[in-house]
Amino acid sequence: MTITDDRTDTTAPELEIGKARRRKEDQRLITGRTRWTDNIQLPGMLHLAMVRSPFAHATITAINTAEAKAAPGVIDVVTGEDIKDVQGVNANAWPITADQVTPTHLPVAVERVACAGEIVAVVVARSAAAARDAAELVDVDYDELPAVLDLKEAAADTVLAHPDLGTNKSAFWKLDSAEAGTGGDVDAAIAKAREDGVVIEREFRQQRLIPAFMEPRSVVVDPTGEQMVVWSATQIPHILRFLIAATMGIPESKVRVIAPDVGGGFGGKLQTTPEEFATIAVARRLGKPCKYTETRSESLLSGHHGRDQWQKLTLSAEKDGTVTGLKVELLADMGAYIAIVGGGVPVLGAWMFNSIYKFPAYQFNCQTVLTNKTWVDAYRGAGRPEATFGIERMMDELAAELGRDPLEVREQNWIRHEEFPFTTVAGMTYDSGNYEAATAKAKELFGYDELRAEQKRRRESNDPVQLGIGVSTFTEMCGLAPSRILGQLNYGAGGWEHASIRMLATGKVEVVTGVSPHGQGHETAWSQIVADRLGVPFEDVEVLHGDTQTSPRGLDTYGSRSLVVGAEAVVRAADRVIDKAKVFAAHLLEASEDDLEFKAGRFGVKGTDKGIGIAEIALATFAAHNLPDGAEPSIDADATFDPDNFSFPHGTHLCAMEVDTETGATTMRKYVCVDDIGTIINPLIVEGQVHGGLVQGIAQALWEGAEYDEQGTLVTGSFVDYTLPTAADTISFVTDHTTSPSTTNTLGTKGVGEAGTIASTPAVVNAIVDAVRPLGVDDIVMPCTPERVWKAIQAGHPVSHEGERDAAPHFDEATPNQDPGAGSPSTTTEGSDQ
């Protein structure tokens, strides 16, 4: 049989990569008929309820548990004192400096609570209802201490979040391009621009957000076997296992952690939680399986929060718009404790504030600060949305100052596609990208010129509804991460990923991955990749994850790392399977290995019609009757992949917002994004990630914000006040792609999990500000509530002619450069300095 090229094409199976497959995991996830942690019932299992501090800062003077202990169904009431030697600690795994001030974070407080919601006692009962009832009967006496809530006040160290530490300042981290040898001196650049160029100075607030994943956190601990089993609704089963062993004095080999199906996380389950450690301590104390599932109110209060920064930014440029320097000064609120990677999250901004622009001089300063509020850690994008917001707002402000189109000013300054790979002023090397192509496509899909024309008409006719156009040309670094870089940053772990492929006798394939999906669709995407690589049917691939017993090595899912790091390990394991199988194929076909080629799941002998399928080889190695001499009867393989570099997705996002100037209400008119995420494995999954990501980023711009009152009580403690959007609040987004394959992995993929969230926030705020800029507005604090928009308009000084503006305001030390009308509602402490 002669095989012609034509024929090969028509008989080749359709490639799985690139197919918009529906997700194989969705039926069970959507119907809930699956293994959510809270669905697990073990014989004799007890239920826990947490008693939490209502105060932001207080000494615990007495805990009377007698009445609760006597309540029906109650087995025990455990205080911090009872378990103080066995409860471990909630560790910080990324001290950003050697002298970082890190308060000890006990799962159950013993002497003092440092934020509202901290656990002070655990009630154990035969039912969840009995535990809840008895929790009301635990009588805790507190001596209230002064609480520090406002970030800037905390930085002034007048009231201390932890009096014993002597300061609220946790760590100061700096990157300076002149010192690092990656660029010039930023202060010199700014000084020069003050003489003969343009200096833009702004202070932006990144409000505190709550991750608000769909499945509340839940943990079940079974201490009865030789290995203690911990089921947890976590993103990080492997890291949790390590930290249980490291801080509770239990040998790692005696701990098995399972993340069964997990309903979302967005970074909010990238944590080892007090609830997990308390449940383990109580289950071990009683020798009984125990379950704790939080309520939504507990989730909003006690799951970690995200963002929360003040950003003081100074950008210098020449009069022609060429940027010359960027100086970043951050204050980052850590809350009451430095969470697992809490200090590191804002520091990730160090490599991102310069973004896609060729700043010749750059400086990044970050001061992390403790307050008496819920601890802050990763939330979708983690450090990169904050930075992207800052720089993209600044680029719009620069364009406005120059009276030029914001896209044009960006293009003047961005890295041109022929300049890749490009080493930035922050020392990162961007592997690939094409900002021109993404922007051209986005402009066309958006109808940029027509919308600008409509904007002009509305301005001229003084339409009560004004139109604004917001731009965000973002990049991000994802795929956490090259282990060597993490080591240099003092991060507590590596960034490699592991995979195993098991070829079953019946031709089915088990893929074990070290990443831990919690809604992303890895089972589908990994199946597509393996189906193509091994030439087996998609349906024959089973993806196993999230159990330290089946998947002993892995570093879990966060930082858009699963595909670019985790799936690359899968690819390498698959290639090893093929290499191993080749030896058997040659033996069984009585051919030389050099004469074999592997295509569509078959080893064929070149120039003949002889061949053998990989499933047949799997069966042959299972039987092991006829093996080459000295061969082990297995074609299973493992691989561990450690990337050399991050991957750098980018994109151009354009947003049109209508602003009702009479009420301040804003309405999204159009949203277009063209993302370059390299090779796309499954367009449907990508679409889902982009849409969901966009909504979360838009929500930061418009709707969400965690607010505390003066006592340190979370005001937005339920979904009545924490205004999470629903599908009814969003429009249909126009999404598209350009493709510059990444060069840091063989699939050419970049991450997509966070892109939408990172890019969309500044696009929306830029659009709102653009709509009302002629009314004298140049910033609005997020979330841009109708009230804030309306008040900003009231406080604005209308600009009569484009280009004729007051000189750019300069920083007045210690006061934020905010528009007076753009403040927070009077009932909140946020922005109390206004």
């Binding site: 809840r132 008040k791 509602p825």
Partner: protein
């Protein structure tokens, strides 16, 4: 979340329910659609010993016409009110307002009587009920029944004329056949309670406003009726300019709350803008 334990009674008549209320006093809570009561119980803001479910009392459900009046049973769900042609024809304002309440699931459980007795100042049915001049039929012990006018029904935050041991049984709504209606609800996200809501219904005659009724949501501790504005609108052409002038003082004397969604002054400003829009929309302008 898990509510504290309670006993559950499901009487089948108003009389039986009133007897149960008398027996258990303030240890009892009446359950209608549960859309306000259950969150309260689950968050343990209240822990009654007995819950009396009105769901099986047929006489409290449904909509009938008595001459110039629509009679709506307290246990009629939002969804049933929306489905009623009679309400759409004779009290369109009520339909318009109810369309904005929460989401379909909640509208299928929540009842008009429950919403009115709950008397959340941010709730969307109080203002249209006031604007339409609704009357409230309240049953008490021993088969007694009294009818309370709108102005006397809402007493304060979460407080109405329905006393301990009493039940709201019916709402009597005078027909406003042929009146245009609009409910202008201002929210940040779609499933939110009103930041401010304006209920307006207008009878037009030859391009002018012959009569107008205006109710305000969340502009004080109870729903309000803007009688001065109603009077100022009479005889005015349905133009932006004329209506703007007539409604300019709508927020005068109101005392709206300040919260994360806006301070009191902002709400007053909103009320002025939204009343103009609501009246113009109701007048078909």
């Amino acid at each position: 979340m898990i509510p504290a334990q309670f006993d559950y009674i499901a009487p089948s008549s108003v009389e039986e329910a009133i007897r149960a209320l008398a027996e258990h006093g303030d240890d009892a809570k009446v359950l209608a659609g549960g859309q306000s009561l259950l969150p309260i119980l689950r968050m343990r803001l209240n822990a009654p010993g007995v819950v009396i479910d009105l769901g099986r009392i047929g006489e409290l459900q449904g909509i009938t016409e008595e001459g110039d009046t629509l009679v709506i049973g307290a246990m009629t769900t939002y969804a049933a009110v929306l489905a009623s042609e009679a309400v759409g024809t004779h009290a369109a304002l009520l339909s318009k307002a109810i369309q904005t309440v929460a989401d379909p699931q909640i509208r299928h459980r929540g009842t008009i009587g429950g919403a009115l007795v709950h008397a959340d100042p941010a709730g969307d049915v109080g203002a249209p009920a006031l604007a339409l001049g609704a009357e409230f039929v309240i049953a008490g012990p021993g088969g007694s029944s009294r009818t309370v006018a709108g102005d006397d029904f809402f007493e304060d935050l979460f407080t109405t004329a329905v006393g301990e041991g009493e039940l709201l049984t019916h709402i009597r709504v005078p027909k406003h056949t042929g009146w245009g209606a609009h409910y202008e609800k201002f929210v940040r996200v779609s499933h939110q309670w009103s930041i401010v809501g304006i209920a307006a219904t207008v009878r037009s005659e030859g391009g002018s406003i012959a009569e107008a009724r205006v109710g305000l949501t969340n502009m004080g501790s109870t729903p309000l009726r803007a009688k001065a504005v109603e009077e100022a609108l009479v005889g005015k052409p349905a133009t932006d300019e004329a209506v703007r002038a007539a409604v300019a003082s709508v927020a005068e004397g109101t005392n709206p709350p300040s919260d994360l969604n806006g301070d009191s002054d902002y709400r007053k400003h909103l009320a002025t803008v939204l009343t103009r829009r609501a009246v113009l929309a109701a007048a078909g302008a």
